[in-house]
Point group: C2
Chain length 187, copies 2
């Protein structure tokens, strides 16, 4: 703390600054130098920890997959609960989520990312497979949760749903599991 040279926790600080910047202006609306300024270090300091911009986003993506895995683990085994947890994760960790599904921004073949991604995938496989061996159904569940999250993130949802996306998601996602009749045609 007394030292003006060693920050002490620069890696974590820069990652957090990146999260804040991405939440404000999207995954490309910031610069490494801006993060360095926010952290109070020189313009080249972040490069020491992440190499380059893609390296920083690689670290963010890996962290994101781990956070998602944790959130899904906590959600239990029910598919609907998992979907709601997925949407909640996207809303609460919007920066991580947006980067994770934009592989052109980072090194998707990085060992840390693939490992974390595999952990998340295994988790989903187990949860979904327990309820049904139907891979189409699993993809349908992933799609509807991912789609609702994406629409919410891009501000495309009606304003009344935008406030609490996780709560708003439940009745929508539930359409995949029940109440089919009112979807197909009028009574």
């Amino acid at each position: 703390m007394s030292s003006s040279y060693h920050h002490g926790d620069l890696r974590r600080t820069v990652l957090s600054a990146a999260v804040a910047a991405i939440e404000e202006s999207g995954p490309s609306g910031w610069s490494l130098r801006e993060l360095a300024r926010r952290a109070g270090v020189s313009h080249a300091a972040p490069a020491h920890h992440f190499g380059d911009k893609a390296g920083l986003l690689t670290a963010l993506a890996a962290e994101g997959f781990d956070l998602l895995a944790a959130a899904l683990t906590e959600a239990g085994d029910d598919l609907l609960d998992l979907g709601v947890a997925y949407v909640r994760f996207a809303a609460e960790h919007r920066a991580h989520f947006e980067v994770m599904f934009r592989p052109e921004l980072y090194r998707a073949d990085d060992p840390e990312v693939t490992a974390a991604g595999d952990r998340t995938a295994a988790l989903l496989d187990r949860a979904v497979g327990a309820g049904s061996p139907d891979s189409d159904a699993a993809l349908a569940a992933w799609s509807i949760a991912h789609g609702f999250a994406g629409l919410w993130l891009s501000g495309a949802l009606p304003p009344n749903l935008a406030e609490d996306p996780a709560t708003a998601a439940r009745p929508i996602l539930a359409k995949l599991f029940s109440d089919r009749e009112d979807v197909r045609s009028a009574p």
Copy 2:
């Protein structure tokens, strides 16, 4: 053609170059100057037609909403067909689609964009409303199509589905409309 000064159709040329560049490297992986070089004009020529980078992406988004409206119109009234058409649009016009749902990249309040967006929304409302007055069901349909498209675009889908996403989408989207039992639990 003989004139070295007036390009003749620079606006269209730059837009097409942007589409190509975005398909190659994502919505942020290119520069205005690169597009100018591809079009064989000076580095400042594109600015005359679009103002700045956001202006170009604004034009792309507006065009995208019109293309989507046209694709959905052609798809008919069946909700499942509409969903498949939505996914096909995302795959065939990936650059437009990716920009459209990233409002931080362009001026979402631009009159041309809002007008085109409203046209698309009205179209969807009419088609969905005809089948059912249930707005939750409409959102569920939009979500599952949007989510499948997004997952395909980010390369998250299993390789066997990646080849022809529109065809692959149909059985997935159909899960929203029928065959509920095998989703909820094993027989």
